[in-house]
């Protein structure tokens, strides 16, 4: 098995120091690692498992069960478009097609150059002002196709 990079190992160690003694704190630990690195390195599984007295399979099971956790590096920019009912009623289906065309990748995928990933999200709690989305961690509501395009262009230039 490959070993973690120094940066990865440090992130895991820091998170373990914070959470290893807290009851049931596997999720906060995984969040802390992912918040630092953007993903949870596969190679961290054995370290986390032994610190929490769990089997590797248990830790792997938890990481893969939750939609939020990921084991691969994220693309440079992440666009999450709400696909849930209230946004459907406000036009998220056609907005999604527009985003797919602009970025050149399908919902749930990333672009070949890994500059962009386009993810579905099921409700951001902005249901009165949809379509709603999250772009690189910032929330946006009442998104028109024009607004979407200009926000993407702005990121492209940055």
């Amino acid at each position: 098995m490959n070993s973690m990079t120094t940066r990865e190992a440090q992130a895991v160690e820091d998170a373990l120091t914070r959470f290893r003694d807290e009851q049931g704190a596997l999720l906060p630990l995984l969040h802390a690692v992912q918040d630092t690195l953007g993903y949870i390195p596969k190679e961290a599984t054995p370290t986390i498992a032994s610190a929490f007295n769990l089997s590797r399979a248990e830790v792997h099971g938890v990481i893969t069960y939750y939609h939020h956790f990921r084991q691969t590096e994220p693309a440079q920019h992440k666009l999450a478009l709400c696909q849930a009912e209230a946004c459907q009623a406000r036009g998220c289906r056609s907005l999604t097609e527009k985003a797919e065309a602009l970025l050149g990748c399908n919902l749930g995928e990333h672009t070949a150059d890994n500059r962009w990933e386009l993810e579905p999200v099921y409700c951001l709690g902005l249901c009165a002002s949809g379509p709603a989305m999250e772009l690189d961690g910032k929330l946006y509501a009442r998104i028109t196709p024009e607004r979407l395009e200009s926000l993407i262009r702005k990121k492209e230039l940055s």
Binding site: L27, V62, H67, C123, L124, G125, C127, A128, S129, A141
Partner: protein, 519 residues
């Protein structure tokens, strides 16, 4: 003297540029030599007007909205600091019919105060419920909650007082209060608005619950899609602890109560209470079989009160004003008020707290102002992704747990999602099955496999009209298997949106109204 200006910090305001507006206001004020005091309040809930800026003029708050950063200079030019007219002027906030016609008990403070100010909170009855509870025995607190008629706001409507009583009577070395802040239902955002707009109310409700049942520790499980709610709650817990409202010695009573904020990780089913407990324990969020009830064997195997945010947020009012003041609102067995969330294709979407008994039509027309598209309403989904779609003919049903159930609907968490006549109801039904397939915890076959089969069947009905009748029958069989063979409401209630779409809108499934009745 400096003028007080309010710019909301609620996510729904931030997502349409509230921070940029606040920044522009500060800049304009500075360049004009105007002294202002900027308060970042919660949202008043008139979400189509966000960012809605308020200015205090002669002791009264006057509103402007929706404000853009570009319009700020013209607001200053027009004299909005003195409440002068402007194209965006809305008049005195309290006089806006949308607000004036509500019955805000839980949302009384939201949008009015600075969410993190303990002074503001206490100046508006904050912690009065906790102080009252500290003078009562646990049994008396539970009795007040029972007398208020408060039922769980997370969906099932189970009486809160009965749950609390069970936990109170259980003997254990440790008990827990768990707040279900997973709010996964599309069309709902009231939990989020409470956490971002009045976090101490939830903290107070939790502390009262702790006193009532003898729990010294509470957890708030907040969905990861709500980063602002997480950070406001974390800061509120820190401040409340530092000020002695939480900690080893709550308000000098000798009683302890601490709160931990936990972030979820994007699994809808973790809103189901037992899956939530598994997740809090650091496991996969798989639903547990009941019994045992969480009230007896809950978090880490200990007796646990698990309640929705709105359930616990209603408690401080009940303890402060008395159970009767709360129970005086409502109809039948649905006592008190419900913060309804108007969403989807509406001109005036937002938060409307009303006593139970208001009709969907009143909410949609009188408050919501009809569809934003200007087209007729065709279908309304009430109660989230597991709730039924109602046609126009059923919109006069009073919003009450029993009355809605009698019409095949569910009230759930009070979310109301409106669709106009461009909606394809077969597609909505297909989506309901797809959502179930994506979010199923995988424990039961009807839910895990049935949902995928359901999607395929609906796709076939749409693609091949000649197949619609036999496939429609198959869909009904499938739904009845899911209804009867699922451990929790994920698989057990996904048939609600599907069957209601099929019953009320058969033409969208290539079925004639008569054929479908015969089928």
């Amino acid at each position: 003297m400096s003028v007080k200006i309010y710019v909301p910090r609620d996510s729904a305001a931030l997502a349409v540029g509230a921070d940029e507006v606040a920044e522009a206001i500060v800049q304009q004020a500075a360049s004009r030599g105007q002294s202002i005091e900027l308060v970042r309040n919660g949202s008043r809930g008139l979400l189509w007007l966000e960012p809605m800026v308020e200015v205090t003029v002669g002791g009264e708050r006057v509103a402007y909205g929706p404000v853009t950063p570009e319009s700020v200079a013209s607001l200053f030019d027009a004299g909005f600091l003195a409440g002068k007219p402007h194209a965006l002027a809305l008049g005195p906030t309290e006089a806006l019919p949308y607000l004036k016609n509500q019955e805000r008990l839980t949302f009384a403070r939201v949008g009015i105060t600075d969410p993190l100010s303990l002074e503001d909170y206490q100046a508006h009855e904050g912690f009065a419920g906790l102080r009252a509870a500290l003078a009562l025995t646990p049994a008396d607190i539970v009795q007040q909650v029972l007398d208020s008629g408060l039922r769980g706001r997370g969906g099932a409507g189970f009486p809160a007082g009965i749950k609390w009583k069970t936990v109170m009577q259980a003997s254990a070395d440790q008990k827990y209060i768990v707040v279900n802040a997973d709010e996964g239902d599309s069309g709902t955002f009231a939990d989020r608005m409470v956490m971002e707009g009045d976090p101490y109310m939830l903290i107070e409700g939790m502390a009262i619950a702790g006193l009532a049942v003898g729990a010294t520790h509470g957890y708030v499980y907040i969905r990861s899609e709500y980063p602002d709610a997480v950070s406001v709650m974390e800061e509120a817990v820190r401040r409340a602890t530092a000020a002695g409202f939480l900690g080893k010695n709550v308000l000098g009573s000798g009683k302890a109560f601490d709160i931990t904020i936990r972030k979820a990780a994007g699994a809808y089913v973790c809103g189901e209470e037992t899956a939530l407990l598994e997740s809090l324990e650091g496991k996969r969020g798989i639903v547990r079989a009941k019994p045992p009830l969480p009230a007896l064997v809950g978090l880490f195997g200990k007796p646990t009160v698990i309640n929705n945010v709105l359930t616990l947020a209603a408690v401080p009012f009940i303890l402060c004003r008395g159970p009767k003041a709360y129970a005086d609102y409502g109809m039948g067995r649905s006592r008190g008020t419900l913060p309804f969330q108007l969403a989807g294709n509406l001109r005036h979407g937002g938060l409307v707290e009303k006593a139970f008994g208001v009709t969907a039509r009143q909410l949609i027309e009188d408050f919501g102002g009809g569809t934003e598209s200007g087209r007729p309403v065709r279908a309304v989904q009430i109660g989230g992704p597991l709730g039924a779609y109602l046609p126009d003919a059923l919109l006069d049903t009073p919003m009450d747990y029993e009355a809605l159930a009698a019409k095949g609907g569910v009230l759930g968490h009070g979310g109301i999602v409106v669709f106009d006549d461009t909606v394809d109801m077969a597609e909505q039904a297909r989506y309901a099955m797809e959502f179930c397939a994506i979010e199923s915890c995988g424990k039961c076959t009807p839910c895990r496999i049935g949902s995928t089969r359901g999607m395929e069947v609906i796709e076939r009905m749409k693609a091949t009209p000649a197949e619609a009748v036999p496939q429609g029958k198959l869909l009904r069989d499938l739904c009845s298997t899911m209804l009867n063979g699922s451990l929790c409401a994920m698989g057990g209630m996904t048939p609600y949106p599907v069957l209601s779409a099929l019953d009320h809108f058969p033409e969208d499934f290539n079925l004639a109204a008569e054929t479908h009745k015969a089928a």
